[in-house]
């Protein structure tokens, strides 16, 4: 048994990128892509975003468009056929997206002499040999991270289903009920668990649990449930700034720091701990600890 290296991460992610390139016509489900390279499906979207610099959805969409562009240039298929073949329902939708990406409509693109492709974070393009610039040397590679060993935590929670920007409302309601019942005594921790990838799940269906640590005897009541947050090893980093920028820190943490850490993610959700109070803190000074669950290092692995 040896620890996982940065090279392993790159090799595995490359396998995913090659698969995407070769199966652009398929639906390319996140779970399937994660499985190809033994990445935990819980975290794959963040690892991908961090390492590649685009979300899976953005990446696939761009490659499909680039393929369409080369079909326009080199083939004789009609724009409508190319649009349908690229996963668009209509000529209009395809033209609109194409124009945003290439600055010109498909029909004009076909006639133009030469069009430069916009640069991409990973350097990967559809019709060029694949050389990938993984982003693991970026900022995230040097972030301050602590490894903590946690005991399982019992939490009371209220589930919010809807845009992440609205979880504040769930918190208000949840804390009011819990506070009235005396559960805010004894400095409980406030945790948030995001269950879905905002790139895949529509905003109205995103599931988020607002959690408060409670004693083991806490039972569910009304719209407040009880669950246990798994114990074990966690990598912990602190995000400083507004909550709507957490996604970037997650991607840097899981996609840039993690591949260089020698550790592997465990298939359990990340959670975040809110350290200060958004009511009396400047958004730039908000602190959020992000906990990423790790697989245990096998005994003797370090020798």
């Amino acid at each position: 048994m040896r620890t996982v290296t940065l090279h392993d991460y790159k090799r595995r992610m490359l396998r995913v990128l090659v698969h995407i390139q070769q199966h652009l016509d398929e639906s390319l489900q996140l779970e399937e892509l994660a499985g190809l390279a033994c990445f935990s499906p819980c975290h794959f979207h963040r690892v991908f975003k961090g390492m590649v610099g685009e979300s899976v959805k953005e990446y696939v969409r761009r490659l499909r468009l680039e393929r369409a562009a080369s079909q326009l240039k080199l083939g004789s298929a009609s724009v409508v056929d190319i649009a349908l073949g690229s996963g668009y329902d209509s000529h209009e939708a395809f033209t609109r997206t194409f124009k945003t990406a290439f600055g010109t409509a498909p029909s004009q693109y076909r006639l133009a002499r030469r069009v430069e492709l916009a640069s991409t974070p990973s350097g990967v393009h559809f019709h060029e040999p694949m050389t990938v610039r993984f982003r693991t040397l970026r900022r995230g590679g040097n972030m301050k991270v602590e490894i903590k060993q946690l005991k399982p935590m019992h939490v009371a929670f209220m589930r919010h289903v809807g845009p992440y920007a609205e979880v504040g409302k769930a918190w208000e309601k949840f804390l009011t009920v819990m506070g009235k019942e005396g559960y805010l005594g004894g400095n409980p921790m406030m945790l948030g668990i995001c269950h879905d990838d905002p790139e895949v799940t529509p905003p109205a269906k995103l599931r988020y649990d607002a959690c408060l640590t409670v004693g083991e005897d806490f039972g569910p009541r009304g719209d407040i449930g009880a669950q246990t947050v798994a114990g074990g090893a966690y990598a912990v980093t602190t995000h400083t700034g507004p909550y709507n920028q957490l996604g970037r820190t997650y991607a840097e943490f899981l996609g840039q720091w993690m591949p260089r850490s020698g550790r592997e993610l465990r298939n359990a959700p990340c959670f975040e701990v809110y350290v200060n109070d958004p009511h009396d803190t400047d958004p730039e000074e908000l602190l959020t600890d992000i906990y990423a669950p790790l697989q245990e290092v096998a005994k003797g692995a370090r020798e």
Binding site: M178, G179, E181, G182, L184, G185, V275, D280
Partner: protein
Amino acid sequence: MATTEKVDLYKGNKKEYAATPKPAVVEIGPAVYLSISGRGAPGGNAFSDAIGALYGVAFTVKMTRKFAGKRDYAVCKLEALWPNLDWNDTTPDREHWVWQLVIRTPKFVAAKDVSQAIETLMKRGKGAAVQRVELQSLSEGLCVQALHVGPYEDEGKTMATMRAFAERQGLRIAGTHHEIYLSDPRRVAASKLKTILRGPVMKAEG
């Protein structure tokens, strides 16, 4: 509308909480606090328990009122009074320090709100310290106030500046030393901790 807006006592009494490293004279109006007193080194067990109890009561009172549809307000930051901290640096050993931890609270919070919150917390087994939390009014009046930036241990320097400033104004710091903790010591580097220091004054004799 003003009546339904959330009450923020720090914003509403801006002048009382505006402090710079340069000392200034401020008039502090009468105010109500949730309060708990004790003895022991700051950061020690008794001190930490008291902070937990005070915040527990503060949030339970707030949320119980909010749940009942009563007027909402922001829970203010932690403050402390140090009755035996001498402005002339003859302070006893830390283990014997006496403190009164307080959180400023709107006047519309009643003693009954507090006793009810204590009862709720006791039912949850949140420690006996909550029973010592009570409402208290303070009327500090004319004070010299300054912002101290840095570790708590270095407050002596800022206090000396305040004392000298008071003298130049023909005043003498005579009341209980009062601190308002603007930063969280668990999260902010000691060199960047911001604390408002306040000392009630009286006219110097002769």
